[in-house]
Symmetry: C2
Subunit: 301 residues, 2 copies
């Protein structure tokens, strides 16, 4: 899993502080998560091959998470895109995008599908043999979902020497990797665990932005490899977090600790703070493994 932060600041876009967008590369897919104004420029700037994007996930319909979407969709048309594009986001997103394309007489030439969300329960929004993506209902001023990207456990690795030693037919190898027992050339049943290793652990990435402190999400993201959790404010301004339904760095860390995640990545910083270092310091009083998102930073999970 490779996570590229395109923007990780809240509210208004500035020259050196882009609002939310990130790209997750996992199991051969490239997913865009949120798409603030300027995202298409950031994709070019950080040399993301964005023609590979097929699915875009929008957490909520505040401008700093979705005002760049219509431009990106239009740019795909101008670049001659032919591949399908799927947009997953809150109900209303389809009308907002299509109205603007209609006004510009600029409907896409490529197939554009909207998958509108309105459930307050987690929903699987994408699934293939290697991966699933599930919404994480959040608590914000408008209807908002995070997204949980979960790799599926891969095939077991064959212990080839042991299989040969036990006279296992090669024709069984495929099924053995899928966890089945084998039969040796002399007719004996060989237990799967004797001739295989566990597959590499399945990774998962939880994206939670924007949200008030919302411990109800903890069971869903337990043991995630990495959690991106918004931290708009520091604890000293927790009244602002409460008022605007955002989180503090400390609250993000409490969620990370409760959920026993591997790494906590903080972002969505308010522009009122001159440096982001204090977010890390504050979170680390609760949870040790904290990283700070930065525009252009790449996390290999």
């Amino acid at each position: 899993m490779k996570l590229t932060i395109l923007g990780c600041h809240s509210a208004t876009p500035r020259w050196d502080a882009n609002p939310t967008a990130q790209v997750l590369e996992v199991k051969g897919h490239l997913f865009l998560i949120d798409c603030a104004e300027g995202t298409q420029v950031q994709l070019r700037r950080f040399k993301v091959k964005f023609s590979r994007l097929k699915h875009i996930f929008i957490s909520h319909l505040h401008g700093d998470h979705f005002f760049g979407l219509v431009g990106l969709i239009s740019t795909f048309r101008l670049l001659g895109r032919e591949a399908e594009l799927h947009v997953h986001g809150p109900k209303g997103i389809k009308e907002a995008i299509l109205l603007q394309l209609k006004l510009g007489k600029s409907y896409t030439n490529y197939p554009l599908y909207f998958h509108e969300l309105e459930s307050k329960e987690p929903q699987v929004v994408f699934e293939d043999e290697k991966l699933s993506i599930t919404t994480i209902p959040l608590d914000h001023r408008v209807y908002t979902n995070g997204f949980l990207f979960q790799e599926k456990l891969g095939e077991r690795s064959l212990h080839i020497e042991k299989a040969r030693e036990l006279n296992v037919e090669m024709s069984y190898y495929r099924k053995i990797k899928q966890g089945e027992d084998a039969i040796s050339k002399d007719g004996k049943r060989i237990k799967n665990e004797l001739i295989t290793f566990d597959p590499p652990p399945a990774k998962s990435y939880a994206y939670c932005s924007d949200t008030a402190y919302f411990p109800q999400l903890v069971p869903q993201i337990e043991n995630a490899t990495a959690l991106y959790h918004e931290a708009t404010f520091l604890d000293k301004d927790h009244h602002l977090a409460e008022k605007t339904k955002h989180s503090t760095a400390k609250e993000a860390a409490v969620i990370a600790k409760k959920a026993k995640v591997g790494t906590l990545i903080l972002g969505h910083y308010s522009g009122r703070y001159s440096s982001t270092e204090s977010f890390k310091t504050e979170a680390q009083t609760i949870f040790p493994n904290v990283q700070l998102a930065e525009d252009g930073k790449v996390f290999e999970l």
Copy 2:
């Protein structure tokens, strides 16, 4: 008149090539003309005091001229704006903006007025005692207007020594500047032109983008101090200009020549050309006084 180019490239925004937006400062006003994605960042980058903006003029509803508007309107709200904002643009613009604000539950706290345009005849869209702004109907793939900013002729300048010499009462000075004759202390009528100079010439700026070659606009912009005319293509690609209803540099120059403008400013360059110098060279074969727009360039007219 001071014109600041925020972006002057066509189609998709890139890191070093912003789509259309410009700011015109004239007679104490600051006007924004078009508002592509990224315009608010360009306003900050070039240190334009954009809280002073009260009127925004949108030529047409293609993304590279208006996708930044909703973000700018939202940013004004976040910055606590209280002053009125007037948006002048094609019919449909109000619905597009308000729908997005509604979806984000982000209606502005300041008064926001839309003045929707649908006439194919020139219309006065702003007027005060020093200035008028009129639409310039253009010929593009969607309904499009340019805008003509015309200063009004100021007061005549008083020839103070002459007025004293001719015994003109000071109480007449105000009316004399407005063009009236005066009466001297000994009761004689003094012709206005004897005691005044002509006011400085009224300047005008014509913004014409996007449009196919459209000589019908010439009478409206005759003798303009400066004309910004789109030049998306070079003459060698004139078939593309015809197909997409854009202009070539040569065509822009023909318009400038026919209209006898002072300066021709070219912009809206297609990304297919590696340099913009050829636009100038081509236009200068027809019309000598050509300037190239560049992001961040300031023209004092």
